[in-house]
Subunit: 174 residues, 2 copies
DNA sequence: CAAGATTGACACATCAATCTTA
DNA sequence: TAAGATTGATGTGTCAATCTTG
């Protein structure tokens, strides 16, 4: 039924949300808006980095060799190649990464975390993880956390069916 | 302990995430990035509206008199007054809302949903709700939905302690 | 002086166009 | 022709400054 409604744009017979559904969606909407904003604010304030920039550096820091192809990094950060390219430009200007042509495939570009970038992660990651703990992990019981994990998996599957699952990650510096 | 870490910026001893915690945070991160993007894309494609614009119109459509003060509307949409002001300018240009000075308090401005704005909501809301259903509500069991609601409440409390809870809502047109 | 709201400058994301190499 | 990546134009959010009224 829902399929038909989705397909049929503004066809009639909308199934409105009942009070419980509405309350749940309301709460989730709040998280969708406020949690990213809070994490962005923390990173911006403490490290002068956006969430996306942090994620890119974190991914590189976790990779053996601290090197990734741009297209790989784009997937890992849940972002478009175009967006990553712009961000890489800034990060390179700040000295956190360096870009170099691949020898085997000259179309490809490798992003490499510099020593300065590594130091930045070492300095930044603990504070960021502490905030993730405070706002999410430690705010929930283990059972709630497990429930969130399951529910998030279902939602992701509904949003992008057949996606190999989300590769994004947190924590870095080790 | 966490409190101390949060307060102490990049003080030592980071408590990294264990595998379960990491997996849960990973899944939630994916939702944080992909779900808003998917909803934005649907609204943009089907109605030429951003999520925020839709929310503003929806709030007005649900209010008796279809009128709200700018500052009220800002709170309801989880946005800054500045952001709302910019958006209101666009919505007014498109003929969906109208702004008029309040008679009682001449500092205040009232945003009023026009007939065209109302029609827009009537045409847009069913499709949007259908997508919310498909991606979230109907993707979860009732028990999961309840768990999400509880967890979201806890997270919001951790993000902004003492906030009166999120006023954002969906559905409109009735 | 504080509250309500607006404005302009700047930063970032998105999209389409482009360029190079497989 | 497709894959990998970059670039520039455009639109929107954020922040600080400003204006007006209580």
């Amino acid at each position: 039924v829902v399929e038909a409604e989705v397909a049929g744009e503004e066809s009639g017979d909308p199934r409105w949300l009942d009070p419980d559904e509405r309350a749940a969606w309301l709460a989730l909407s709040g998280v969708l808006i406020r949690l990213p904003a809070a994490l962005d604010a923390q990173l911006e304030r403490d490290a002068g980095l956006s969430n996306f920039e942090y994620l890119a550096l974190a991914m590189l820091s976790e990779t053996p060799g601290r090197t990734l192809r741009m297209s790989q990094l784009a997937v890992l950060t849940n972002g478009s190649l175009s967006r990553l390219s712009h961000v890489a430009q800034r990060l390179e200007r700040q000295g956190y990464i360096r870009r170099e042509q691949s020898a085997t495939d000259r179309r490809s570009v490798q992003a490499v975390l510099t020593d300065a970038g590594w130091d930045k992660m070492v300095a930044t990651a603990p504070g960021h993880v502490a905030h993730v703990r405070a706002m999410v992990i430690d705010a929930l019981t283990p059972a709630q956390l497990a429930a969130v994990r399951d529910a998030a998996g279902r939602i992701l599957e509904a949003v992008e069916p057949g996606s190999p699952f989300n590769p994004a990650a947190e924590t870095a510096g080790d």
